[in-house]
């Protein structure tokens, strides 16, 4: 697979792949006491992308993330994070990775600031003199500067979540992994998380964010991975996923009935829609549809591809898996921009 940035990749230092993937797994599998949590997951996270990991509860999102970060040993399969194998070389890559996994973990008897200072001390990329500044900056970034000296036990759920986010952003990162970052946040907090993700994206940081909130993913991500029952059911650029399903062209025309008839004569499935017609593009291309219509004398005001909402796509994917897997596998994730 090649991506837009692949040509800039330097295939040296024996990493062998030469493609710009921030994270990649091959046939990843995890079995917990006979229960298969994750099965045959081939994940591809392009560098610089914001990848949303979607799936119902218990679909293997967190297990996959924990394996990616070297917290759990996979039963089978390979993992590469920023080009190095995990968990073997986890110590080399983890300094460049920030993570919030399974909710924030802090000590209640320490202030938010002291909790962060403790973790900052363990950050290999921070020099001794930078710890204070790094902690202040991280607190500032998540909007907790005002509550920095409050005990963690006095924090609200949203503040705890923000502090978790701050600890993921303590050092300069190349990959940030966020497991359900908006859990417990009010709408303003959710907005804040979106802003932080967008900011990271602008700086070229790769972000992997898991969520069961579809709107969340639709609003922030460039790429999507959909997991269901431990299996990847779809993966690719968000736009591709939204256009998948049966591709449809919406044509605005005042001559609806004629247009439908004309298309049916040409064996193109179409049906009437509120102010025009919907044309199924499975067997044909938009250009051919419009040409046929214009030749038959139907007036075409506007034609556009229909974007299904992510919600619809997601429901389709997690309920009616079989149809879609083949179709989406051919889609290659594009690099961002």
């Amino acid at each position: 697979m090649t991506t837009a940035r692949a040509e800039g990749a330097v295939p040296e230092a024996g990493n062998g792949s030469g493609t710009a993937l921030a994270a990649r797994t091959r046939a990843l599998r995890k079995v917990y006491r006979g229960t298969v949590a994750v099965d045959g997951v081939d994940l591809e996270v392009p560098e610089g992308a914001v990848v949303g990991m979607l799936g119902p509860n218990g679909s293997g999102k967190t297990t996959t993330i924990r394996m990616l970060l070297g917290l759990v040993q996979p039963t089978e399969g390979e993992i590469e994070l920023l080009g190095v194998p995990v968990p073997e070389a986890a110590e080399q890559v983890l300094p460049h990775v920030g993570a919030l996994v399974e909710g924030p973990g802090f000590h209640p008897f320490l202030s938010g600031r002291d909790n962060l200072l403790r973790f900052a001390a363990a950050e290999p990329l921070l020099a001794g003199g930078e710890l204070d500044g790094a902690v202040s900056a991280a607190l500032e970034r998540v909007g907790l500067a005002g509550a920095a000296r409050k005990k963690y036990r006095a924090y609200s759920l949203g503040m705890k979540q923000r502090l978790g986010l701050a600890s993921a952003l303590l050092a300069p990162r190349r990959l940030v992994v966020l497991d359900e970052p908006t859990n417990g946040l009010d709408p303003a907090g959710t907005q804040e998380v979106r802003r932080i993700i967008a900011e990271l994206h602008d700086r070229g940081v790769t972000v992997l964010v898991s969520s069961h909130l579809l709107a969340e993913v639709e609003a922030t991500c460039t790429h999507v991975v959909v997991l269901n029952e431990g299996v990847v059911v779809a993966q690719g650029a968000l736009d591709d996923l939204l256009e998948s399903g049966s591709p449809t062209l919406l044509v605005s025309t005042p001559d609806g009935p004629t247009a439908v008839e004309t298309l049916r004569d040409h064996r193109i499935p179409a049906r009437l829609a509120p102010d025009g017609i919907r044309v199924d593009l499975t067997t044909t291309a938009p250009a051919a549809v419009i040409e046929t219509l214009v030749r038959a004398g139907a007036r075409v005001d506007e034609a556009r591809r229909e974007r299904t909402g992510l919600e619809e796509a997601f429901a389709r994917l997690t309920h009616d898996v079989g149809d879609l897997v083949g179709e989406l596998d051919t889609e290659e994730p594009e690099a961002v921009r």
């Binding site: 710009a20 917290l71 920023l82 008897f109 001390a121 363990a122 300069p172 190349r174």
Partner: protein
């Protein structure tokens, strides 16, 4: 990340550029000293650590004052000893609390022996329970692993933290006992059990030795506690198991039919602390106790290491 990648077409210079995997710098680690400082600061900011240390510092004072008052009032022989004088003090030999009990030499040693029965092991077990199980239950162990701190290094830092607690706790008991003794009786009563006068330097040397020996003994307890701590996420399980184990050991020590088992029981070492009051000091029992503690230490740390390197984070 210091070399901007050719493909980096956006973002300020300070941002981690969209580099390629090949650019990952060599492995870096946070300095060990910084990790240790963070760990020790965390331990000594816990309210419960401070509470138990305060208790440990207060007990020798209470014992000393109580003994002093009893001796002053009536001068009756106090063969029962102060409350809390454990079997280590009254086992066979002359009751050490009777005459010179409030001296700056015997009070700290007696307090140390008494507290080594339960309260000091409790302190260490608590610290060990918080070190791994407690961190696991708060989800903070994951934070260390993700930083990353390698699992072996993490155990090293945690064991060092427990060592500091053991050292501070036993040092505090001895210091508190000695200061109390000096206040109550001055430099009187600095005599060995054999009746010889001891110089202040000699006394300090012996007390220092007692602290070192007690720390080793407590680290043996701590190593076993750390092993248990690595297997659970409930600090309470650690404390209960360790104290339960010590109590069972002491019970087994009372059963003479099991005397073949006694050399393997950790509390068998405790009585040898009395040897520090003899003149000259007899090192046989102390050395045997140190060896026994060393065995527990090695076994405990090995189990803890085996578990922490394989557990899920």
């Amino acid at each position: 990340m210091t070399t901007p990648h050719p493909a980096a077409t956006r973002g300020p210079a300070t941002a981690p550029g969209p580099g390629v995997p090949a650019e990952l710098p060599a492995r870096r680690r946070a300095p060990l000293g910084r990790l240790l400082r963070a760990e020790v600061r965390w331990i000594f900011r816990r309210p419960r650590t401070l509470a138990v240390l305060a208790l440990l510092a207060a007990l020798p004072v209470i014992t000393g004052v109580a003994v002093d008052l009893t001796l002053d009032g009536g001068g009756a022989p106090v063969d029962t000893g102060p409350p809390g004088a454990g079997p280590g003090a009254s086992d066979g030999g002359p009751p050490i609390f009777v005459t010179m009990a409030a001296s700056a030499f015997v009070l700290p040693l007696g307090s140390l022996m008494t507290l080594l029965m339960l309260l000091l092991p409790l302190t260490v077990a608590m610290a060990s329970g918080d070190a791994l199980a407690g961190e696991q239950s708060h989800g903070t162990l994951r934070g260390w692993l993700l930083a990353p701190v390698s699992r072996g290094r993490l155990l090293l830092v945690k064991a060092a933290g427990v060592l500091v607690v053991a050292l501070v706790a036993s040092g505090l008991v001895v210091t508190s006992g000695m200061v109390t003794g000096l206040v109550l009786t001055g430099t009187d009563g600095l005599v060995s059990m054999s009746g010889t006068e001891l110089s202040m330097a000699d006394v300090l040397g012996r007390l220092g030795l007692a602290v070192a020996w007690a720390t080793l003994y407590l680290m043996a307890v701590g190593a076993v506690a750390l092993a248990i701590s690595a297997f659970t996420e409930h600090p309470m399980v650690v404390v209960v198991s360790v104290l339960g184990g010590l109590i069972v050991s002491v019970v087994l020590m009372q059963i003479s039919a099991l005397d073949w088992l006694h050399p393997f029981l950790l509390p068998s070492s405790l009585t040898s602390l009395v040897d520090l009051i003899r003149d000259p000091v007899s090192f046989d029992g102390l050395a045997e106790g140190a060896f026994r503690a060393g065995c527990y230490l090695v076994i405990g740390m090995s189990l803890a290491y085996a578990r922490i390197t394989t557990k899920a984070g």
